[in-house]
Each structure stands twice: as C-alpha cells, then as structure tokens.
C-alpha cells in the first residue's frame, strides 16, 4: 500500500511536468502546475510519516498531562515527524502567492491577446522578433 502510494505520487509528478511543458493552453498548464505542487507536498509529508499499526485508535499525541517515561517511550514510537509538515505549510503559503500571481497574469494576457493558447502567442512573438531584428 505504502509503495503504491509513493509510486502513484511520482507518476503524478511526472504527468504534471508533462502537462506544464507540453500543453499549449495556459489554464491547463496552470492546473498541471498546481497538481505538481500538491504531489510534491504530499511526498514531503510522507517522508515524515510513520506506520503505526498496533493501536489505530490512539492519536499521535501525548495523552496525559504528566507523562511517565513509558508514555514518552510510546509517544516516541508512534509520533510522526512534525518538521516536514511545517515545511509543507510554508510551501503551501508560498504556492498560494505564486498561483494567484499566475492566475491574474493569465487573465491580463487574455485581455491583451484574446486567447490563452501559448502556441498562437509565441507565433505572434516570433513574428515580432523577426520584424525587430530585420
């Protein structure tokens, strides 16, 4: 199960890279980019994950206010690593800023060109550059 999850996440990342690079439509590119970001974040959380099977009902937190050494030992065995989660939280916030910027720029681009197809826009650009250097 664990391996299938990891493999499918890697596959997700690979497909979304293909989407960002190969799809001409800017909105589709954008969707692929968000999928890539989310898959990477999930892999990051998975790095700090710990398989805990014995008592599924117990959450990975300390259950008593004044823990005995044995409680602490148990806690150490079942607690997940909190640091990747903190990293991912930061990455999500940063991703939010990037995504909002991208969406608003795509909107502005649409107002100028009346299309979100990158192939047509780069055809226009090639024309402009040839004209400029001629």
């Amino acid at each position: 199960m664990f391996l299938i999850t990891i493999a499918s996440l890697y596959l997700n990342i690979a497909i979304s890279i293909y989407g960002v690079i190969a799809k001409p439509n800017l909105v589709k590119k954008f969707i692929a980019l968000t999928i890539a970001q989310d898959s990477i974040n999930t892999v990051a959380i998975l790095m700090g994950y710990r398989v805990w099977r014995e008592a599924i009902l117990q959450p990975p937190i300390l259950l008593s206010w004044s823990p005995s050494p044995k409680d602490l030992q148990d806690f150490m065995n079942r607690a997940v690593d909190p640091l990747p989660q903190a990293l991912v939280l930061t990455a999500i916030v940063i991703g939010l800023a990037v995504n909002i910027f991208l969406v608003s720029t795509i909107l502005h681009l649409y107002r100028h060109f009346k299309t979100v197809d990158m192939d047509e826009i780069s055809k226009l650009k090639r024309g402009a550059i040839v004209e400029e250097t001629a």
Binding site: I21, Q37, I40, V43, L87, T105, L109
Partner: protein, 553 residues
C-alpha cells in the same frame, strides 16, 4: 568578540523586507515621487553600511553567525557568512544603492512608482536572504520571495502585451523549478535529518560536532537519518534545476532575454547584476562547502569520474554553450536592452564555464585562483552590466524606443553619460586597465592551470565574438548623425551615478592589478576552499549552538 555572533547580518534582509511591506503606508500618507525615491535611498544606504560592516568582520574573524530568535542552529534558522557570501552580499547592497540613486531620476518618468519601490525592496530582501542564509529551507523561502517579486517586476508595465508574455514564460517554469528545489530540500532532510548547511557539511565530511549532532543525530557510515549518498545525489539533481534556472544557463535560458528586456530599467539592472548571481552562488555553496572534494560521500564514481566532478563538468559544458549562444545571438540584436541581456547570458556562461576548474582533479592553488576569478568576475560584471542597463535604459526612455537606431548620435548630446557607457562596455569586453580585463585574465589563468586549453581559448573567442555586438552600440552612439534634432534633457543624476560606477571600474581594475584586491580575494577564497575553511565554517556554527544551549565544553 569571543563568539562570532553579529546582529547586522540578520538586519539586512529584515530591513529590506519591512521596507517593502511598509511602502503602501507611504501611499496613504505622502504620495509624492520624491518621498519614494528618498525612502529607498535611505534603506539602501543603511543596508550598504551594514553589509560593509559584515564584510569587515568576515575579513577579521573568517566566519560570522547570526541565529534568528536565539534558537540553537540545527533547530532554528541561522545566517552564516564566510568570505563567499560576504562578497556577494556586498555586491548586492552596493548595486541596490546605485539603483536607488538612479531612481531619483527614474521615478519622475514612470507612471506609479509606489509598487516599483515595494517590489524592488522585496526582491532585494529575497536576494540578500538567499545570499546570507545558512539553512537550505530558508534558502528556498528566500528564493521564492526573490522569484515572485521578479515575476511581478517583469510584468510591471501591464499595458504592454510582451511584458506579460515574458513574465508568464518566466513564471511558469520558474514556479515548477522552485517547487523542485523544495523537493530536493525535503530529500536532504530525509537523508540527513537536518537542513542546516553547516550540519550537512559536517555529516558529508565526517566531522565530529559536539552540539549539532546532539540535536540532529549522529551518522554511522553513510546512514544518518536515511541513506545520505542517494539522498544527496537526488537532492543535487533536483536543486540544480532551480539554481541554473535563476542563473539562465543553457536549457533554461529562453526566458532571460525577454524578461530582462521588458522589466523597468532599475529592475533590469538588479536582475543582471545580482539575481542571476544568486544561482551561481547557490551552486558554489553546494559544491564548495556541502559537497566539497574532501567529502567522501559526494565522490563515488560514475563512468570513472567522481560524481561531484561529473556534475561540475556538465555545468561547465552548459556554461560553454550558454556563453557561445549569448555572444553569437547578441551580434544580431537591434534592441538595446535585449542586446545587454544576451551579454549577461554570455558572462554568466563564462562564470559557469570556469567551474570546471573547481573539480578535485585540479590542484589546490588553481582552485583558489578559479574561485578568486569567479568572485571578481561577478563583481566587475555586476558593476559594468547594471551601469549599462541604467545608462542605456535612460537613453532609451528619452528616445521613447529601445531600438539601437533611435539612440544614434546621442553620444555627442550626452557626453558624460556616453563616456561612462563606453568605459562599461570596454570593461565587459575586457580592455586592459579596467576591472573586466583582470577578472577574465584570472579565469584564463585558472583554465590554463587546469589544462583546459579548449575553455581558455574559447574564453578569448567568446570575448572576440561579443565585440561585434558591443561595437554596434558604440558606433551608433558616436559615429552616426541624429535622426532628428535631439533636445537635451537634464540627466544630471544619471550622469553622476554612471560616471561614479565607471570610475569605480577603473579603480577596481588598478587596485586589483596592484595586488591589494587580488591578495584580499585570494586570501578569502583560500579560506573558503581549504578543508580548514570548511572545518572553521562547521565549528563556528557548532560553537554558537553550544553557547546558546549553554553546554560547557
């Protein structure tokens, strides 16, 4: 100062960031063009003074540390400064000082300077944060601050369609590349159990640290938190994409010319001067401190070449391609700022080309010379290129067109500015008494010392090809008659700042030739490259950690 903690280091990015965030307040209370330019000038002056102090202390004590919030190093964020970052930090802050003096003039011609001020300050926060930080994850965060503000600066003139197009083609792959930098950082954490550069360096070199390893775990052979060999290889592969993307090295160079062309002139100057050097700095920090030739885990061999050296060779080949591409395409450009962007590409290519001299096959003296050359070339290129962006950008703004034809004959109308531009161009070509010659010569010496004759000759060939493009600008400036009667506009501020930079280029060149600067750079590079330097880097952070936790040795 017994323990090398210096608060100025932490202040520099914080001042920029707060300055940027507080700019909208000025918009509410004192919405005048002069206020914005003076505001950013004050911030630039303060930070330049602080970075000079940092540089002074680094020369004295070799390594300076600032732990944020008083947390001990592997747990909290630390800013660690050795000679390598001190030089780049100095370049960054001085460059921003130049740009903000220029802004005294530029803010009179741009429509709404408030957002430009905020974005430039945030960009500088990202740049200085990336440069001074001693923590991989903080590097990622600052890289994103830098990247987002750069995208926004490129799209600053949102009424121009090509500016938006340039910004998007930069931002899409940029966002993907920085996400992969984060992925690489996660792999490093999974392998080493830490994100602190000094701690990672300690683990790759097998140095025994007293306090760092107490907090992040000890290693048994190649097993720390996970397997560090595979983790490092994956992390290097993933992180190099973002770094070479910011630097604009060959497969990732497509965005650079359009982005630098469409950005406002001060932003172009900052991009060409320091933003692409951040990528260079990241690569250097990775392969000089973290995965140095003394680190056994980076030296497992692939195809008979140690892994680390293989990566550096590949980078140098990519740099070689970039340099040739930049020099050749530059010759056919008719847009003044696009020509300068290709020239930037060429110089970054030269810097990456000389990374072949940092491999473990090279002897120590040559490696020191190579690093000296890279640092000095970063300095002279930053000064020369950004001065050209500022000066020619001002002329293009006056002529209301970026075509080279439209500035014909301006050399006679604006003699001071044109003389400074000429000096800048000559420095970039590499003419003898100027800084650019000595930096290229140092790189040439390093390549000869390594036995890389192909690179050494191609360095000269590339400079030769680039002359075609540069001479076109000079010819149009001086030889051709103006198309129509040119009305002289008062450009006193631009004149003064460009002339000052030109004088600096001459002074730097002469001081380097006399040996003052050369000795300083060489001593500093030696401290960074030697195994003792890396040990000092690790030990200083360790010592600070010990001091904060309060364990007596």
């Amino acid at each position: 100062m017994e323990v090398p903690i210096l608060h100025e280091v932490g202040l520099i990015p914080i001042i920029y960031a707060f300055g940027g965030v507080l700019t909208p307040l000025i918009r509410l209370f004192a919405d005048k063009r002069k206020v914005y330019s003076i505001y950013s000038l004050v911030i630039a002056l303060v930070t330049t003074w602080l970075s000079f102090r940092v540089f002074e202390y680094v020369i004295k004590y070799k390594v300076i540390v600032y732990p944020f919030g008083g947390w001990p190093p592997p747990l909290g964020i630390v800013y660690t400064v050795d000679f390598l970052n001190a030089v780049y930090g100095l370049i960054a802050t001085v460059l921003f000082l130049i740009v903000s003096v220029y802004n005294l003039w530029y803010f009179n011609v741009v429509a709404d300077p408030s957002w430009l001020t905020a974005l430039l300050l945030l960009n500088m926060a990202g740049v200085t944060g990336c440069i001074y930080t001693g923590d991989i994850f903080n590097f990622f965060v600052m890289l994103e601050v830098l990247a987002i503000s750069s995208y926004a600066l490129v799209a600053y003139f949102k009424k121009r369609r090509w500016a938006l197009e340039a910004s998007l083609s930069y931002a899409f792959i940029g966002a993907l590349a920085t996400s992969f930098f984060f992925f690489g950082a996660v792999f490093l954490y999974a392998g080493y159990g830490t994100l602190n550069i000094a701690d990672i360096a300690a683990k790759t070199h097998g140095v025994d640290t007293s306090t760092l390893s107490l907090l992040s775990g000890r290693c048994i052979d190649t097993q720390c938190f996970g397997n560090i060999v595979s983790a490092s290889a994956t992390a290097i592969a993933l992180m190099l994409w973002a770094l070479t993307f910011e630097a604009g090295i060959f497969p990732n160079n497509y965005w650079l010319p359009s982005a630098y062309t469409e950005a406002p002139s001060p932003a172009s100057a900052v991009f060409a001067g320091i933003v692409d050097k951040v990528g260079t700095y990241g690569v250097l920090r990775m392969f000089i401190t973290m995965f140095s030739p003394y680190a056994s885990i980076a030296m497992f061999s692939i195809l008979g070449i140690p892994f680390r050296d293989l990566v550096l060779y590949i980078l140098s080949i990519l740099g070689f391609v970039t340099a040739f591409l930049g020099a050749i395409i530059m010759a056919v450009q008719n847009d003044v700022k696009r020509l300068l962007s290709y020239s930037t590409m060429m110089h970054i290519g030269i810097i990456f080309m000389s990374m072949a001299c940092l491999t473990s096959a090279t002897n120590l003296d040559v490696r020191v010379i190579a690093l000296t050359g890279i640092l000095f070339h970063s300095l002279t290129h930053a000064l020369g290129e950004s001065m050209l962006f500022l000066g020619l950008g001002a002329l293009a703004t006056i002529a209301n067109s970026r075509r080279i034809d439209s500035i014909r004959g301006y050399g006679r109308v604006y003699p001071v500015l044109s003389t400074s531009i000429t000096i800048g161009i000559l420095s970039l070509i590499g003419v003898a008494p100027l800084g650019g010659f000595f930096s290229k010569y140092t790189l040439f010496l390093a390549m000869i010392g390594t036995g890389m004759w192909v690179y050494a000759i191609s360095l000269i060939v590339v400079s030769g090809i680039s002359i075609i493009g540069y001479i076109k600008v000079l010819y149009t400036l001086y030889m051709l008659k103006p198309m129509k009667e040119v009305k002289k506009i008062n450009l006193a501020i631009v004149d003064i700042i460009c002339a000052l930079v030109a004088i600096t280029l001459i002074v730097v060149g002469i001081a380097y030739a006399q040996g003052y600067l050369f000795d300083m750079f060489k001593m500093g590079s030696k401290d960074v490259v030697l195994i003792e330097g890396i040990q000092k880097y690790i030990n200083t952070v360790d010592q600070v950690s010990k001091l904060i936790i309060g364990i007596k040795p």
